[in-house]
């Protein structure tokens, strides 16, 4: 490569500077993991008290947005409103009546992670936040 001894270190320095905000933040003592508030009480679904989320926690944290989009499309376009989870349990495909029945504290659950990741979903422009936890509506 032409001028490799200048180009390669140059690229390394550029990559280091470009990603500086991430690793400076990660190494700083103020860096903390986002801790969301998990629901404390079991809620009744299909006549059964449940305290487990529909899918494993890690999977939900990574994929809930895609699951919600699937739920939306199956409910609205195919009129299928029951979701059978991988463990065989049945749930109604509803953000408002299923997810937020347990995760009723939007500020301490949804918002914490969304704020930390700087994403701004507009779910709650229409979907109603359970009252008593927030003053947004």
């Amino acid at each position: 490569m032409f001028n490799a001894k200048y180009v390669i270190p140059g690229i390394i320095v550029f990559a280091g500077l470009f990603t500086a905000p991430f690793w400076i933040n990660m190494l700083s003592p103020k860096h903390e993991k986002v801790v969301v508030e998990l629901p404390a009480h079991p809620v009744t679904f299909f006549g059964e008290e449940r305290s487990q989320c529909i899918e494993p926690r890690e999977w939900m944290a990574a994929n809930h947005m895609e699951l919600l989009i699937e739920w939306r499309d199956s409910a609205l376009r195919e009129n299928k409103r029951i979701y059978t989870a991988t463990d065989g349990k049945k749930w109604e495909t509803s953000l408002q009546n299923t997810c937020m029945a347990c995760h009723s504290n939007k500020t301490e659950f949804c918002d914490k992670c969304h704020d930390a990741n700087s994403v701004n979903p507009y779910c709650w422009d229409c979907h109603v936040i359970p009252q008593g936890n927030n003053n947004e509506f």
């Binding site: 699951l67 699937e70 609205l76 991988t86 422009d125 109603v128 509506f137």
Partner: protein, 252 residues
């Protein structure tokens, strides 16, 4: 030079494949979807309104309220109003009926108006976003997630059934039904024939509140309540000449 171009194309196409495969791999776990077993099914849903039972406009208020309360429809005065079901005079409801001399009973009567859930819905044809569509039993539904607020459907609908949210509707909802979403600024909304209730085996809210004056059932089933009511009574529909084949019938 040729070999390097060939190499570049190889790498580019392989990485495209890899990206596509990766994107497909993120689909949800082996989960399945099904409909509620108690859900009501029909080939063609239709509504029959016995207008003789609504001689007094006051008797129509509870039905309108039942619908608007169940679906979080805001009460906004003036030209920005949002409505799913409302009432009007014969002259306005059946605008292409030419008779200027109506019997007094009909001239004073008011008629329920709402989305007609047409067999050939012009709103669905014009929607550029695929946000409005026909679903089970010929219902015309709106996916508010997709609506871009262009209002083509409002221009296309010959019945004025659709309302636009010019502003955030939430401050105008008196009593919030926490089990149903609201809408947001910039989307169009209308009557859904209570698709969410039909899927759980319930009749539409207005039918339930009407004490039998509004009937609902499968138009393709000769034994259904709507077919029996239509067989025994003379009925008309709004603007049938337009060819939309509306699904709301009025017994006069």
């Amino acid at each position: 030079m040729n070999s390097s171009r060939r190499y570049f194309l190889k790498v580019a196409s392989l990485s495209t494949f890899a990206l596509a495969a990766g994107a497909a791999g993120t689909k949800a776990a082996g989960a399945e979807y099904e409909a509620y077993p108690e859900g009501l099914k029909a080939k063609r849903w239709a509504m029959v309104i016995d207008t003789r039972r609504f001689q007094n406009p006051e008797s129509m208020r509870p039905i309108i309220e039942a619908c608007h309360k169940a679906h979080n429809v805001p009460t906004i005065p003036g030209p920005k109003e949002v409505k799913w079901i409302w009432d009007d005079t014969f002259e306005h409801a059946f605008a292409d009926d030419p008779s200027p001399l109506l019997p007094r009973g009909i001239e004073e009567r008011r008629f329920f108006l709402m989305c007609n859930h047409c067999t050939n819905p012009s709103c669905v044809r014009v929607c550029p976003a695929g946000a409005t569509y026909t679903t089970q039993g010929g219902l015309v539904a709106i996916d508010y997630h997709r609506c871009v607020g262009c209002r083509f459907c409002m221009a296309a609908c010959p019945y004025g059934s659709r309302s636009f949210n010019f502003q955030d509707p939430r401050p105008f909802i008196k009593e919030l039904n926490a089990a149903y979403p609201t809408r947001m600024r910039g989307v169009v909304e209308k009557c859904t024939f209570c698709a969410e209730r039909l899927e759980k085996g319930l009749m539409p809210a207005c039918v339930e509140a009407s004490n039998g004056a509004i009937l609902f059932g499968d138009l393709n089933d000769p034994d259904s309540v709507v077919r029996q009511a239509l067989a025994r009574n003379f009925s008309i529909r709004r603007k049938p000449s337009l060819g939309t084949d509306p699904g709301v019938y009025y017994i006069i």
